[in-house]
């Protein structure tokens, strides 16, 4: 089974589309580097989101046309982007004041592990060989109002990424609001992982088997 094209359940694009449905018009959103960036492609017609990139731009637009790029107009993933009408540039202290101060409505991030209490591990596998690097991940989870995680439900080796307790170093404690995986949408409820919605063809039991902690049925 490949994480890129799961046998059953949602594709990456499906997940991104599903996340995008849940974001209200006018939201201020920070999309994590990589897969979460896909969300921007699936925003429903008629909704305008304002994208924040923590290196200092509110109102980030898509990649520039070929040849029109500017090496100093980039996003947090260091890729060239554009600025939309209504955009503003600012310094790092101000950018993280937006994040830490709770001004962003939503951050969508990837995950190595999410615990049933909403702990997130997504910056380090704790290996002694790796160069530790954290960027703005800890700031985002500590400050943004809602934190959505986009992830495959299990690792490439089939291990659950939704777990009782994270074994990887934490990015933040009790910070995740909701998980969007290839198998399901799951809220972090006071009681633990609460199912919101299953992907087509995925049964509750199938999702539970691949979840490292009890999966609670949808709230009535």
């Amino acid at each position: 089974m490949s994480a890129e094209a799961p046998a059953i359940g949602w594709t990456r694009d499906d997940i991104a589309r599903r996340v995008a449905q849940d974001i209200p018009n006018g939201s201020y959103v920070n999309l994590g580097i990589g897969i979460p960036e896909l969300v921007a492609r699936f925003v429903p017609e008629g909704r305008t989101l304002v994208y924040h990139t923590e290196n200092g731009l509110l109102g980030m637009g898509p990649s520039p046309a070929k040849g029109a790029g500017d090496p100093e107009l980039i996003n947090a993933g260091k890729r060239q982007v554009t600025a939309m009408p209504g955009a503003s540039f600012f310094d790092q202290a101000t950018s993280f004041a937006m994040i830490r101060g709770g001004h962003l409505d939503l951050s969508v991030l990837g995950a190595l592990q999410v615990s049933q209490e909403g702990d997130l591990a997504n910056w380090s596998t704790g290996g002694s060989d790796a160069i530790p690097a954290v960027g703005g991940a800890m700031d985002l989870v500590a400050g943004v109002k809602r934190v959505y995680v986009m992830t495959t439900h299990v690792t490439k080796d089939g291990e659950p990424k939704l777990v009782e307790r994270c074994t990887y170093p934490l990015t933040g404690r009790r910070v995740v609001t909701r998980v969007y995986s290839d198998l399901a949408v799951i809220d972090i409820a006071p009681q633990g992982f609460r199912l919101v919605e299953l992907a087509p063809g995925v049964s509750f039991e199938y999702a539970q088997e691949r979840t490292g902690a009890p999966l609670l049925p949808p709230a009535p």
Binding site: Y28, L58, G59, A83, P85, G86, A87, S88, A97, R100
Partner: protein
Amino acid sequence: MIDKRVASVREAVADIHDGATVMIGGFGEAGSPIELIHALIDQGARRLTVVSNNTGSGEVGLAALLKAGRVAKVVCSFPRTANSTVFPELYHRGEVELELVPQGTLAERIRAGGAGIPAFYTPTAVGTPLADGKELRTIGGREYVLEYGIRADFTLIKGRVADTHGNVLYHATARNFAPPMAMAGAVTIVQAAEVVEAGTLDAEAVVTPGIFVDRVVHVATPAHESELIAAGATYPPTGAGNA
């Protein structure tokens, strides 16, 4: 489509509740959002805590809000000014509480509140009565006092130009407390002499990014406190008050 404009100052302040903490921009008359304050007087909210550098002059703007008996507590650095009689009278009668904060500490506490910093250490006021009862800490051989961030339910400020996304530019020294207060208000309301479409302002020159602003209201020709006072104005106007 994002459009933060509201039709009137009345609509802009309609939901300010009794007991709310309200930050009000301005240093003296520069930057004082007089029209929003007058709308707040008309709206009637009571027992407000007002965070503002001064307490107004004459009987217009901030002084008129105090005069109307709507303010339970003032957090400020300099509650006296030329032509300032309303606050002193209320204070002497024990009808308003005062929390006196050094101006830079006030600015930093507001900025901290907006930036998600709950508390910080500062050298200002160490060894003075304004540090009495506060926690001290020696860092690197120097003594500092612990101060806490402040947030508000509502912030009222004045800009020169705002766009539909809430980006704001200011005029000269009218900028003063508005940018940090915009960050620290749960609901930030800007009155601007000019309101333009998003995309009109230079993204490099925006002072307050729109994320900090919730409502924009167009006040084309804002009054200046000193001119109102020179003209003998009060708010509400005396005629209206007697009618």
